[in-house]
Amino acid sequence: MLSVGLVATWVYHLYDKTQYSNRKTEVYIKDSVAVAEGIRDSLQKIYTYTINNLDTKLDSTKTSADSLKTQLNGKLSEIYKLKSEIDGILKNSGSSKADMEVARSKIAELQQLIEELKGQNTSMEEEKKQLNSVLSQLSGEITGLQQNMKKLGEENKALSDKINLASIFVASEVKLIPVAIKNDKEQETNQAKKVSKFVISFTVQNNVNDYSNADIYVVIIQPNGKVLKSDVWDAFSMQTFNGAKINYTRKVRLDYAKGEARHEIFSLNADDYEQGNYTVQIYHNGYLIGQSMKTLL
């Protein structure tokens, strides 16, 4: 009984399997075109939606991603290529199921590319924001640096001025001695009428610099306010530290070893000696470093 039962079960099973297999083949053959058309419609919808969506995205992408134009162009040409390929498959009425599978795969690829592009656009906008923020930060830093540089420049100038000032001579014992000559003998006098020449002397010193050619300018201001010019071939003008030009009476050039107390003395003859105050001023590097006054009666 058991054996009969088992055999009967196997017979039914084989019969049923045959029936099932036959019906399945029939259905497949009968519905293949309709299914393909359905798939095409469905894909067309997805594709159209994707493309419509893409156009908007592309426009905004185009305008917002100028800086990455080359990279974008590469992606876009890939998209256009895919679009064209999909178009070709979908418009072909004789496309096979296999073609449809290719189209599906390409649409998926297209969607992926578009998503990538979207993501890239977002990241580009974020990057742009970040760059703007960095730029603002850098601008701030540059302004700060400029201010700092200006401040340093001013400090540097102040220090240079201090160094320059330190290297400038200090003049002492500045004297103008009016001399009368009588019987070949020289004698100091205060009487304008008796003066034959002026003797000018001064001492200069600085403890910072040696000089191979230091120009010391001597300015003698006469009672009438004019600068005395005893030798018109050697008395011109010099520039002071603040840019003003002043006339001088004599330029004394000297070699100098730092620390030395250098005494200079010379005489000069004027065409005329007036009654009143004569002022002697000594200048170095445009700075007044010493002066004295002498009155002639």
Partner: protein
């Protein structure tokens, strides 16, 4: 004859001379120094008679100091060698002499009268030397001084006297003096350490001739940029063909430490470049300084106003004097002639510039009266 238009013009000119001489006499002469002597030089030039009253200090010869108290001239055009211009010149010469002696009370021995080299050259060229002799004789008769010396100087004398009058003894044998005139340039130096031998330097280029040549090259395009371009060409040609040769031939380079330049353009540059040195008859300049000034003349001429130039002068008297002098310069020289003269000066200066040794350059403001100073020295030594 007296009613002819020419005669009327001549008498008007004479009246004008006498009138101006009289007006001139009314203004007093104020010497700058107490211990100085006043001299007068009257020179009959090609275009007119010029009188300069100068004050020479007691140290003039050692320091080169002289001060111009009066400087005046009358246009008589003697080198036309016609009766009216002869009479105008004679009357002008006599009027100026009378003013100096009668009004200014300058003794005859301190009034020097000369006929310039320009007159002599033209008279020799036109065979009119007798006109000069007649002028001198007539002048002697008119002033009643039969033995009055009126020297006819030649180019060499003029250059030599200028050197002796302008350059102080201390720089006598180390200074090359160059006078840039309107039509030519002349000068020289003493090469042998004595004043007997004077080496003459001559160049057929002056401020006006350079400017004229440039104008000619500009043709119809009279714009400033074109003038500047053509000037560069004119000066380059002058340098290559004449200046280099003249300087080399003079032999001045190795013997001169100082190059002193006189003439109108030297005065103009000195005044505009160093207005603060208004009292200085001599101004020291560097090649670079003049080069920069030359650029300013072309590019920033409108900044060279008397007011702007004198803005930093603090002494009021100096400022007023500098303002007046700068204004005078800009009346005498326009932009183009300043460019031409400065360009010519630069080309000459360049011959004395080298990377190994540079000469010291001086601009002499009143070189035209230097000869009077030389006459003074000669008179004193006699």
């Amino acid at each position: 004859m007296c009613t002819s238009p020419l005669s009327k013009r001549f008498f008007s000119a004479t009246a004008l001379i006498l009138c101006s001489a009289s007006l001139f006499a009314q203004s007093s002469i104020k010497p700058k120094f107490n211990n100085s002597t006043i001299y007068t030089g009257i020179e009959v030039g090609a275009k007119g008679v010029k009188m300069s009253v100068i004050e020479i200090g007691k140290n003039a010869q050692s320091t080169g100091t002289f001060n111009i108290l009066k400087d005046t001239s009358v246009n008589t055009d003697f080198i036309s060698f016609s009766d009216p211009t002869f009479s105008a010149t004679l009357n002008g010469l006599t009027a100026l002499y009378t003013t100096a002696s009668k009004e200014y009370k300058i003794p005859s021995k301190r009034i020097f009268t000369v006929i310039s080299s320009g007159v002599k050259m033209q008279a020799d060229k036109d065979n009119k030397a007798v006109w000069i002799k007649n002028l001198i004789d007539s002048f002697r008769i008119k002033v009643g001084e039969a033995s009055r010396q009126v020297e006819v100087v030649n180019v060499m004398d003029e250059a030599r006297l200028s050197h002796l009058g302008i350059v102080p003894d201390s720089r006598r044998y180390t200074t090359f003096l160059i006078d840039i005139g309107s039509g030519n340039t002349k000068g020289g130096f003493f090469p042998d350490g004595n004043t007997n031998n004077f080496k003459l330097f001559q160049l057929n280029w002056g401020t006006k001739s350079t400017s004229n040549e440039t104008d000619k090259r500009c043709a119809d395009d009279k714009t400033l940029p074109n003038y500047n371009k053509q000037l560069a060409r004119v000066l380059a040609a002058a340098e290559n063909t004449d200046i280099v040769y003249a300087v080399n031939a003079s032999g001045a380079y190795p013997l001169s430490d100082n190059v002193a330049v006189s003439g109108g353009i030297a005065w103009a540059i000195a005044v505009l470049l160093h207005p603060e040195l208004i009292d200085n008859p001599i101004v020291s300049v560097s090649y670079k300084e003049v080069e920069k000034f030359s650029e300013s003349l072309f590019k920033n001429f409108n900044t060279l106003t008397p007011a702007a130039l004198t803005a930093t002068i603090t002494n009021k008297d100096d400022k007023d004097a500098a303002l007046a002098e700068a204004t005078r310069v800009l009346k005498v020289f326009d932009q183009k002639s300043l460019m031409a003269g400065t360009g010519l000066l630069l080309k000459i200066m360049r011959q004395f510039e080298s990377s190994f040794e540079s000469k010291q350059f001086f601009l002499v403001k009143n070189g035209q009266v230097g000869w009077v100073s030389a006459y003074v020295d000669q008179t004193i030594s006699k």
